[in-house]
Amino acid sequence: MAGTIDREMGLDAVDDLEQLPILGRLHEWVITVDHKRLGLMYITGGLFFFLVAGLQAATIRLQLAVPNSGIVPPQVFNRLLTMHGTAMVFLVGMPILTGLFNYLVPLMIGARDLAFPRLNAFGFWLWFFGALLLYFSYIGGDGLYGAGSAPDVGWFAYAPLTELPFSRGNSTDYWILSILLTTVGSTATAANIVSSVFCMRCEGMTLTKMPVLVWLATVVSFMILVALPPLSAAQVMLLLDRFLGAHFFDTQAGGSAVLWQHFFWIFGHPEVYILVIPAFAFASEIIPVFSRKVIFGYSVMVAASCAIGFISMSVWAHHMFSVGMTPAGNSFFAASSMLVGVPTGIKIFNWLGTMWRGKLRFKVPMLFSIAFLFQFLVAGLTGIMLAVAPFDWQLTDTYFVVAHFHYVLVGAIVFMIFAAIYYWFPKATGRMLSERLGRWHFWLFVIGFHLTFDTEHFAGMQGMPRRIYTYQPGRGLETLNFVASIGALVQGIAVLIFVINVVRSLRSGEPAGDDPWDAWTLEWSTTSPPPEYNFATLPVVRSRRPLWDLKHPDDPDWRYE
C-alpha cells in the first residue's frame, strides 16, 4: 500500500519513499521492522487469502447447489475443502487478527513500537513463506488439471489416514510443513505482544487503564502461547512417522488414532477462541464510540475474557463425543463446554448495556458490530445445543455443525474483521472508506450470510452429511442446498463491493483527519497515517479515555475512575 499514501500527507519518511522507483519501494517493505507496516502486510496477505479461500468456498457451494452435479470430481472436492478450511483458519483468521493487533497495540499503549521489532518481521516472513508453501502444493503432483497434489486430508488431518500408507505423495507433508511455519510466526507475534504490553506502556497507563482491546490481545496472546504448541508437537510426531518410520499414530504397531484427535482438538478448540476473542476486542472498542458511552462493566469484561481463555482450554473433547469416550469423559466435556457460555453471555450483556440509552450512530462499523452481536448469540445457542452429548451424537458430521461453526467464523469473526477495517482504515491510510458502498457491502453480506447458513442448520437436521461431495435427489435437500448456494453467491458479490471500496478509497477516498469518529483511545491522537515513530512525544495518560480528557478538560474521566 506504500504507493497509495499521499504526498500531501507531509510525512518525511513517506515523502522519501515516493521518490524511489517501484523496486526500491518494495525493498523498503521487505526490510521493514515497523509494527504498522508489518501489521498492514499481515492484513493485506490475509485479505488476499480470504479471496482465494472464498473462491474455493464458492466452488464447493456450486458443486453442492444441485444433487449429483459433477462440477468437480471427488478428489478435487476434498482438496478444495481442505484448502478452504486450512486457509481460512491459518492464512485468513490468524494473520488478519494478529495484523490488527500488531498495528493497534503499540499505538493504543502509547509506545513507539513492539518490544521486539525484528522478531516481528521474522514472524511475518515465516508466516508468508508458510502460506506460499501451502499453495505451492498445487503446482506439484498430478499437475494443475487435477489441481496438483494439494492436501486433501481436511484441516484436521486425522491420523492414521494421514499416515504414509493411506496418504501417498507429498500433499500431507505440504500441509504439515506450511502450518508448522505459520504457527511459529503467530507464536512470535504473541510473545511480542505480551512483552510489549508488560514492558512498553506509556506513562500513567497502568494495567487497569489499558483499552479493552489491549487486554483481550494479551489474553489471546497467552492462549496462542499455550494452545498452538500442541498442534506443532503433533505435527512433528506425524512428520517423524512419515519420514523416519516412527509409530506415534500407526495403529499397526499399537499406536492410537484417538491420540491425534486429542492433540488436534487441544489446539483446535482454543483456536476458535483465539479467533473470536479479537472479534470481541474490536466490538469493545467500536460499540462504545458509536454509542457515545464508556464501555459498560470494564472490569467484568476483562475478567470474563480471562475466564473464557481458561475454560476454553478444557473443552476440546466436545469435538469427540462420537469417538466413544467414557460417560464420565462425556459429562465433563459437556459441562465445561456449557460453562464457557456463562462469561460469553456476560459479555453480550455488557455490549448491550453499553448501547442502552446511548446516542447510537449507525455508521458501517457499528452496523457490522450489531449484526455480530445477534449472530454470535445464535452461534452460542447452537453451540450449547451441540454440547449436549446425545444431541451431538445425532447431529455430528452434518451440516448443522457446519452451520454452527460458520456462524462463529463468519457471523462473528469475519463480520468484526470488516467492522475493524472500516473503523481503522482511516487511521492507517488517512482516507475514509465510502459509507455508501459500505452499506451495500453490509446489507448484501448479511442477507447472503443468513441465506447460506440459516438454511444449512435445516439441511443438517434433514441429514445432509458434512464433507460429502454430492448427495442424492428426493431426500428433501435440494431446495435448502440451492438456497445456501445462492447465499454464497450474494456474499461473494458483497465481498467484491468491499474490494472495490478499498481500492477506490485508497486512491480517492475522503481525507479522514486524525480523529474521524471522535474516539477516545490513543491511536487517534497521532496523525493519520501515523509517523514511523508513532508519537512525537510519548503520551501521558490519566484515565481509560485519554482523548476524552484532552477534549473535555472541564470534565475529565480521571475524576471518576
Binding site: 500513567g204 494452545a227 506415534f248 499399537g254
Partner: protein, 200 residues
C-alpha cells in the same frame, strides 16, 4: 480511584523503571510455549508406556543416568553463581563459573550420546523398533536438542567474555539466558521421572 493518579505523580521512580525488562517477559513467554510443546511429548510417552507390541522393553535396556543427571542439575547452580559474580562485577569469577556450566552441560550431552550409541548398536533399539523406541528417542532427543541450543548460546557468551566484551552492563541479558538454562534443567527433571522412573 482519583488517588491512583495522584500517587502516580508523587512517586519518585521514573515511570519506565516501574516496568519489567522486556527480555525477561520475552523469555517467560518462550518458556511457556516450550513447556506446552514438551507437555504433549510427555503425554504421548506416558500414554504409550507398556503398549509396545514387540520388544525390547524399557526395563530390559534402560539404565538410570545418575551421573548425567547430577551434572546437568548442578549446572543450574553454577550458572547462578556465575550471574552473581557478574552482578558483583567480577568478570574473572564469572568466566570461570560460566565455563564450569558449559562443561557440565557438555558432559550431559556426551552422556546422552553414549547411551544412544549403546541402545542403537548393542540393544537394537531405534525410532522404528516399537512404540517405546518412538517415544523414547523423540522425548529425550527433544530435550537433548534444547540442551544443545543452550550450550551454543552459553559458548557464545563464553567467547564474548574471553574477548573482553562482557561487563556488568550485560548482566540482565546473561540472566535471561540463565533462565532458559534453568528451564532446560527443569524439563530434564520431568523427562527423567517419566522415562526412567515411571516408565521403567
Amino acid at each position: 480511584m482519583a488517588a491512583a493518579s495522584t500517587t502516580m505523580r508523587a512517586s519518585s521512580t521514573p515511570w519506565s523503571e516501574t516496568l519489567p525488562y522486556r527480555g525477561r517477559v520475552g523469555i517467560l513467554a518462550l518458556i511457556l510455549t516450550e513447556s506446552s510443546f514438551f507437555l504433549i511429548f510427555v503425554v504421548a510417552y506416558i500414554f504409550y508406556i507398556g503398549k509396545s507390541l514387540s520388544g525390547p522393553s524399557p526395563r530390559e535396556v534402560l539404565s538410570v543416568p545418575i551421573v548425567n543427571t547430577i551434572c546437568l542439575l548442578s549446572s543450574s547452580i553454577t550458572i547462578v553463581i556465575a550471574i552473581r559474580s557478574l552482578r558483583a562485577g567480577s568478570i574473572r569469577n564469572f568466566s570461570a563459573w560460566w565455563f564450569v556450566t558449559f562443561v557440565l552441560g557438555a558432559e550431559f550431552l556426551i552422556g546422552t550420546a553414549i547411551e544412544w550409541h549403546r541402545l542403537i548398536y548393542h540393544e537394537g533399539l531405534t525410532l522404528r523398533t516399537n512404540l517405546f523406541g518412538t517415544t523414547y528417542y523423540s522425548l529425550v532427543g527433544l530435550h537433548a536438542l534444547h540442551v544443545t541450543i543452550g550450550l551454543v548460546l552459553i559458548l557464545l557468551v563464553l567467547i564474548l567474555t574471553v574477548l573482553g566484551y562482557m561487563s556488568e552492563r550485560h548482566v540482565e541479558r546473561a540472566d535471561v539466558l540463565s533462565w532458559y538454562w534453568h528451564f532446560v534443567d527443569s524439563v530434564w527433571v520431568v523427562v527423567f521421572l517419566t522415562v526412567y522412573v515411571i516408565g521403567r
